[in-house]
């Protein structure tokens, strides 16, 4: 169960927020996928040249993580809506949203400027996003488990 606080949104609203965010995020990162396909289609050297392999990897990771985390947010929202005696904690809702922002953004920014096999500074956002994601997923798993134990 999420802890109550005076700033916290009700559980249903939190679930709605993650659902809304998830679907919009999915739209953004699917669009990014289309952009990447276009770069491939026109063989844009800045993206496809062997020397830009790191950029291509970073952008691909940004696309993949963004899409996947959008689905995680949707899954979290649906779980909170349809699983009885379970509600998203506010911190979990926030963590999942920021993970879905920081992880792909880190990869994306890391691919803008690259140093041979190293991505740019932006990639340092990735571990922060990863930590938030880990917290959010772990918290949901724990809360779902405790819900069953308390039955």
């Amino acid at each position: 169960m999420s802890r109550a606080s005076k700033h916290a949104l009700p559980g249903a609203q939190l679930a709605d927020r993650n659902l809304r965010f998830g679907w919009w995020s999915l739209l953004v990162f699917l669009s990014l996928g289309a952009v990447l396909e276009t770069l491939h289609g026109f063989k844009i050297g800045w993206y496809v040249d062997v020397g830009n392999e790191t950029r291509r990897l970073m952008f691909t990771l940004a696309h993949a993580h963004g899409t996947l985390l959008a689905l995680v947010n949707i899954a979290a929202g649906l779980t909170a809506r349809f699983v009885e005696r379970f509600a998203l904690r506010s911190s979990v809702s926030i963590a999942l949203i920021w993970a879905a922002i920081l992880l792909p953004a880190g990869f994306f920014l890391g691919g803008i400027v690259i140093y041979d096999g190293d991505p740019g500074l932006g990639v340092w956002l990735v571990p922060i996003g990863a930590a938030l994601l880990f917290y959010g997923i772990a918290r949901i798993a724990l809360d779902l488990s405790r819900r069953n134990q308390g039955r």
């Binding site: 040249d49 062997v50 020397g51 392999e53 140093y115 041979d116 096999g117 190293d118």
Partner: protein, 626 residues
């Protein structure tokens, strides 16, 4: 019997799957270990000092790895595989110097059997290494003596798709039939054709040669990479370097060096070099080069510049022990005359004295420059930077020349005579069966031709003009003194003199130079046929090859077939065939021949001039040790 539960079966399935996976992994591991047992009949790649090989560099430098991979440095020496050997190797049957050779394929391995005159085929020798990939490929055979190699006496000329005796792919006196002895690869070739080679002499003619990597790989130019690799596992260190302008002290980047330090990264191989002494030679052969890119000297070795004041003792020793050493590599004034040794020219250039100029002023080893072409083209055009095949190369420094180009060159701006390279880097070096540009930047003068026999830039283009004509123009335009000239120098075209009475080195340069389109446009084509046709019978194979190649650039002869390695009688028959074709089918009956070309109005060579010049030919044996 008790019925087993479903979960029991599931557990059994998981255990069986895990067990099968372990067994398969162990089998794969055993096969993998069996494959990495190094062969004992050839030099091998091994762990040498701090060298880690290009595979280790690839992960962090994919772009640079890719451009290096596209370059011919990588394929300088390769382990022989069907992919890197010439096509149809298994059908190869050749004969040379009284011996017959037959190749055969077993799986992915190739073997050669040799039959001496009036004998039978001997034991097969495996083709283990290949040198070269885009000009000439030379194969190396195992000998049964450790890792000692023996040269297969034929080389494959890639452009012509033909095999030729190796001795006939160099400018070598015709009486020399075999040049590389058994063990020569181990004792000499591997000094430069691999990355950090160790010849490792054992005894007699037995070697245990090992290399850090076959071919010229990353660490040849950037120095050994272990420390660089290990210290840069730390991402914080890497980002500190990325975000500052400091270079990484654990690795050398020749592209950020200038002058001597930069040039020696290339010059460690692309120069005529010699050992400081026997102890250095032994040390070099045992442990590999002590030189590391970035250093200002070659450590155990030195770049041999005949006229420089350094290493006089060593150069005197060379003169005593190998009297033709300098003659076979340098013109009389010390300018390098063989290809592959470009750093000698670069170092002797006036541009080099400024301390900035080096190989990378015009070339780049990776596709770094904006606007660079595709990797394949770049590799095939000497890894030049963009536009460096034009005046832009010189205008990087000589910026003022753009405004006064015509005043300086006395040629129209679009003319080949206004191209910097043609006057200041003419094709006076020879190797790989062709003339190549000198890398010693110089100004054309007739004295170099009179005193040292080196064709000057003016007459390499104005083939139909005399040395006297060139001297007068150089005097009028640049106030150069007119050297003392013979009657022939004033009346006979320089190219005619060189191709008839020049030494083999001069003849080769002119035989190639006649095929140069710019020269043909300036000097005309009609008078060139008889000289090239005659040169098809030259005693030097390399000269014949270039005469044939140039003849094919002339109208009517583009498909003329000729085997430049054929016996003398066949060569004579081919020349007769060519002459008849020219006289009967190709000759322009309306052509007007300048008197200096020594061609009569009917298109035939003036016999008095021909005989006189031919009998005065410089027959001193020449071996251009490229």
């Amino acid at each position: 019997m008790r019925k087993l539960s479903r979960s029991w079966w599931q557990g059994l399935f998981v255990i069986a799957t895990v067990a099968a996976t372990i067994v398969v992994t162990l089998i794969s591991l055993r096969d993998f270990q069996r494959e990495v047992v190094p062969p004992e009949n050839r030099p091998i790649q091994s762990q040498i000092a701090g060298y880690v090989s290009s595979n280790a560099c690839r992960a962090c430098h994919p772009g640079n790895y890719a451009s290096w991979h596209a370059s011919f440095h990588r394929t300088m020496t390769q382990v022989a595989t069907p992919q890197c050997l010439p096509p149809d190797m298994d059908k190869l049957e050749l004969a040379f110097n009284g011996r017959e050779y037959k190749a055969e394929r077993r799986g992915d391995k190739f073997f050669v059997r040799t039959r001496p005159e009036s004998g039978s085929y001997g034991e097969p020798q495996q083709v283990v290494l290949v040198t070269g990939s885009h000009n000439l490929q030379i194969l190396w055979l195992d000998t049964g003596e450790g890792r000692t190699l023996q040269q297969f006496p034929f080389g494959y000329i890639v452009a012509e798709k033909m095999w030729a005796p190796v001795t006939e792919t160099f400018l070598i006196p015709p009486n020399v039939k075999e040049y590389y002895s058994t063990g020569a690869w181990n004792g000499a070739c591997m000094d430069c054709h691999v990355t950090q080679g160790q010849s490792r002499f054992v005894a007699g003619n037995k070697w245990d040669s090992q290399v850090a990597e076959f071919g010229i790989a990353c660490e040849a130019c950037h120095s050994e990479g272990r420390e660089h690799m290990e210290r840069n596992r730390n991402p914080f260190r890497r980002f500190k370097i990325h975000l500052t302008t400091k270079s990484d002290p654990t690795v050398t980047n020749p592209a950020s060096l200038k002058g001597l330090e930069s040039g020696l990264a290339c010059g460690q191989c692309h120069s005529v070099w010699a050992f400081n002494g026997m102890a250095d030679k032994i040390e070099f052969n045992r442990h590999g080069a002590a030189f590391r890119p970035g250093a200002g000297d070659l450590s155990q070795r030195f770049v041999v510049q005949p006229n420089a004041p350094d290493h006089t003792e060593q150069k005197d020793f060379i003169r005593r022990t190998e009297p033709d050493f300098f003659h076979n590599r340098f013109w009389g004034d010390g300018m390098i005359r063989v290809t592959g040794r470009e750093f000698n020219g670069v170092q002797a250039s006036p541009c080099f004295r400024g301390g900035e100029f080096s190989c990378i002023s015009c070339h780049e080893m990776h596709l770094d420059s904006p606007g660079q072409t595709d990797a394949k083209t770049w590799a095939r055009t000497a890894q030049l930077k963009p536009k460096m095949d034009s005046d832009s190369a010189c205008l990087q420094c000589h910026k003022d020349m753009t405004a006064r180009l015509v005043a300086h060159t006395h040629h129209s701006a679009e003319s080949s005579g206004s191209r910097c390279y043609n006057c200041h880097m003419p094709r006076t070096t020879f190797g790989l069966l062709r003339a190549m540009r000198s890398h010693q930047v110089s100004s054309p003068n007739v004295h170099e031709s009179i005193a040292y026999g080196r064709p000057n830039a003016c007459n390499l283009c104005h083939l139909d003009q005399t040395l006297g004509w060139a001297a007068q123009h150089l005097h009028a335009w640049y106030n150069q003194p007119v050297p003392e000239l013979s009657e022939d120098d004033r009346t006979i075209a320089a190219a005619v003199q060189w191709i008839l009475k020049g030494d083999a080195g001069q003849r080769a340069l002119i035989a190639w130079g006649i095929g140069w389109e710019s020269a043909q446009k300036i000097a005309g084509r009609d008078w060139l046929y008889p000289y090239l046709i005659y040169t098809l019978t030259d005693s030097y194979a390399a000269v014949r090859f270039d005469a044939w190649k140039s003849l094919r650039t002339l109208p009517g002869f583009s498909d003329f077939s000729f085997t430049y390695t054929a016996p003398d009688q066949t060569l004579g028959e081919a020349a007769t065939r060519a002459y008849k074709k020219w006289l009967g089918e190709v000759r322009n009956v309306n052509a007007v021949y300048r008197r200096e070309t020594a061609i009569d109005s009917d298109g035939r060579v003036r016999q008095d001039v021909f005989q006189r010049l031919r009998s005065a030919r410089d027959e001193k044996p020449i071996f251009l040790a490229e």
